[in-house]
Symmetry: C2
Subunit: 332 residues, 2 copies
C-alpha cells in the first residue's frame, strides 16, 4: 500500500509538476523593445551604436524609477516616452508615413494589478501618445478612443501637443517614397521584409510591490491605409498585463491580432502551468508564422523573456539582480 501511494504520488508529480516557472521573485525587472523584423547586419557601425545607445538610455530611464521603488506603470510609461522621443524608432518622433503622407499614432498601456487600461488609435497631434493612454486609463470610464474622438479627448487634457509634421524624419520619408513605388504590388509583405517599415516600441515591468505593467506605442506600418488599426492599441493583442505576466508585441499587426497573442501568452501560462519562455515559444511556433513577430515579457516572479521569430529585434532588459542586456540580432 505504501509502495502504491508512492507510485501514485510520482504519477501526480509527473503529470502536474513539469514546466513550473521560477518561484523565487526578483525584486524588480524591466524589458523593452524598439521593433522587430529583418534588420540588416550591414547597417553602419555608427548607426548600430546609436541604436544600442538609444536602448541603453531608455533602460536607464526605467531602471532609475524601479530601483527607487517607483511603480511598474511609471517605468513603462517613461521608458516608452523616451523611445517615442528618439527619432530612430517608429513611435512618436520618427513615426512612419501613412499612405496619405501623414502620421497616425497608436498607443496602449495596461496596469496588471487592476486590469486598468488605456488605448488610442489615429492620434495626429499628441507628442507622447503613451502618456495620453495613461490619462485615458486613469481619468475616463472608457478604455479606447479612436481618431477625431481621440484628439477631442486630448483637448480635455493638458497633454503636450505638436503639429503633425513634428513627427517628420528624412529616413521615414525616404522609406515611404520607396513603399509608394516599387513595392505597391507586394504589400504588405514587401514592406515587412525591409524590417523597419513595421516597428513599435514597448516596455514591460515588474516593480518591488509585485505589480506588472505593459506599454506599447507605434506609428503603424509605412504607407498604411487611412484609419487602419493595428495590434498595438488592442488590449490582448499587442499589449496586455494581468497578475500573471506583462507582454508587449511587435511585428505584423494583423497576425498578432488574429491570434490575440499577448493574452494567449498569459493564458497559456495560467491555464497550462507553462513558464513565460514556454508560453512565448508556443505562440511564436504554434500560432504565428516565421517572420511574424517578437515579444518582450516579464512574469510575476521577475522572469524576463525576449523572443522573436524574425531575424532581429531591438531589445534590452535589466533587473534587480544586476542582469543587463542590449541586443539586436539573435546570435549576439
Amino acid at each position: 500500500m505504501k509502495y502504491l501511494a508512492t507510485t501514485l504520488l510520482l504519477a501526480v508529480l509527473l503529470l502536474t509538476g513539469c514546466n513550473q516557472p521560477e518561484t523565487e521573485r526578483t525584486e524588480w525587472a524591466l524589458a523593452l523593445h524598439g521593433g522587430a523584423g529583418t534588420i540588416s547586419k550591414d547597417i553602419p557601425d555608427t548607426l548600430k551604436q546609436q541604436y544600442y545607445d538609444g536602448l541603453r538610455q531608455a533602460l536607464r530611464t526605467g531602471e532609475i524609477i524601479l530601483r527607487e521603488g517607483g511603480s511598474a506603470l511609471d517605468a513603462v510609461e517613461y521608458v516608452v516616452r523616451n523611445l517615442e522621443d528618439n527619432p530612430l524608432f517608429n513611435a512618436g518622433k520618427g513615426a512612419v508615413f501613412t499612405a496619405e503622407g501623414k502620421h497616425e499614432l497608436d498607443a496602449a498601456i495596461m496596469d496588471g494589478s487592476t486590469l486598468g487600461a488605456g488605448a488610442l488609435t489615429g492620434l495626429t497631434t499628441v507628442k507622447n501618445p503613451i502618456s495620453l493612454a495613461r490619462i485615458v486609463m486613469e481619468e475616463s470610464p472608457h478604455i479606447f478612443f479612436s481618431g477625431v474622438g481621440a484628439e477631442e479627448f486630448a483637448n480635455q487634457t493638458d497633454v503636450e501637443r505638436v503639429e503633425n509634421d513634428h513627427f517628420f524624419t528624412e529616413t521615414r520619408y525616404q522609406q515611404w517614397q520607396r513603399a509608394q513605388t516599387g513595392e505597391a504590388n507586394n504589400y504588405p509583405k514587401a514592406a515587412w521584409t525591409e524590417g523597419d517599415y513595421f516597428g513599435t516600441v514597448g516596455a514591460v515591468a515588474l516593480d518591488i510591490n509585485g505589480n506588472l505593467a505593459a506599454a506599447t506605442s507605434t506609428g503603424g506600418m509605412t504607407n498604411k491605409q487611412f484609419g487602419r488599426v493595428g495590434d498595438v492599441p488592442i488590449i490582448g493583442s499587442g499589449t496586455y498585463a494581468n497578475h500573471v505576466a506583462a507582454i508587449s508585441a511587435t511585428g505584423w499587426g494583423e497576425q498578432i491580432m488574429r491570434n490575440v497573442s499577448a493574452t494567449t501568452i498569459a493564458n497559456y501560462m495560467e491555464f497550462n502551468g507553462a513558464s513565460l519562455d514556454e508560453a512565448i515559444d508556443f505562440v511564436l511556433t504554434q500560432r504565428l508564422n516565421p517572420g511574424d513577430a517578437g515579444f518582450i515579457a516579464v512574469d510575476a516572479y521577475g522572469n524576463i523573456s525576449m523572443k522573436m521569430n524574425t531575424a532581429g529585434m531591438y531589445r534590452g532588459s535589466i533587473d534587480s539582480n544586476g542582469n543587463r542586456v542590449v541586443m539586436i540580432w539573435e546570435d549576439e
Copy 2:
C-alpha cells in the same frame, strides 16, 4: 504489477479525464443574442412578443442557410444583418445615440477556420456594418478600420449607404434624453442598470463542414463619448472564433475588453481541457463581476452555451438535432 498498472491508469484518468466536452458532433448549430442587461419583467406583453418574434425570425434566417449546407460565415452575417435591420435591437437601425446625438456603429466578424477577421468602429453611413466587416475580412490586408478611414474604406465598396438619421428611433431618442439629464453623475453604471442602454447583437455558428464563425454588431452605449471604441470590434474581446469555439459577447464593453473575454473562453477550453459551459462559467464568475456581461458560443462539436451574469439576455439557439430555444430571462 497488474493492480499497480490499473491504479496508475485510474489516477491518470482522474487527473485528465474530467471536464471533457461532448465528442459526438452535432451537424450544425447556431446561437444568437440581442443584448444583455437588467431587462424588466414588466415590459408589455405585445413588446415581449415582438422581441420573441424578432429572435425567431433571425434564427430562421440562419437555420435556412445552415440546413442547406451553407457556411457558418454566411449564417452569422445574415443573422446579424437581420438583427441590425430590426429597430428593437441596438445595432444598425435602432442604434443608440452618442453624446453628440448621432449614431456610431461598430461590428466585427471572424472565420474560425482561417482566423480571418474584419472589424470596424465609428461607422456613420453604412446600413449593415456586419457586411462591411466581412468585406474588410475578405478584401483588405488589414483587419480593423476606424472612423473616417472606415467610411473611406466603405466608399471603395458597393455596400449599402444611408444618411445617419436612418438609424433614428423614437425609443432610443427618449433613452438618450434621459441619459443626458438625471444620470450624468453616475455614468456609466446608471445607464447600465437600465439594461437597454448597452446592447449588442451577435451570432455564432458551426456548419456541416465543421467550420466555426462569430459576428457581433452594435450601436455602442447610449450617450457614449465621441470616438469611444467598445469590445465589439476588438478581436478577442467581444468577438472571436478559432478551431475550438466561436464566441460573441454583450454587456459592459470595458469589462469585457480588460478581460479579453472571448479569447479567454476559447483558451480556457483549449489549455485547460474545459467544456464550453465551464469556460464561460469561469469568465463570468472568476473574471467578470455580476451584471457585467453575457455570452453566446458554440464549440467544434456543436455544443451551444448561452450564459450571462445579468438578469436577462435576448437570445436563441437552434441545431440540427431539432433543439430550438428563444429566451429573455434566466428562469423561463
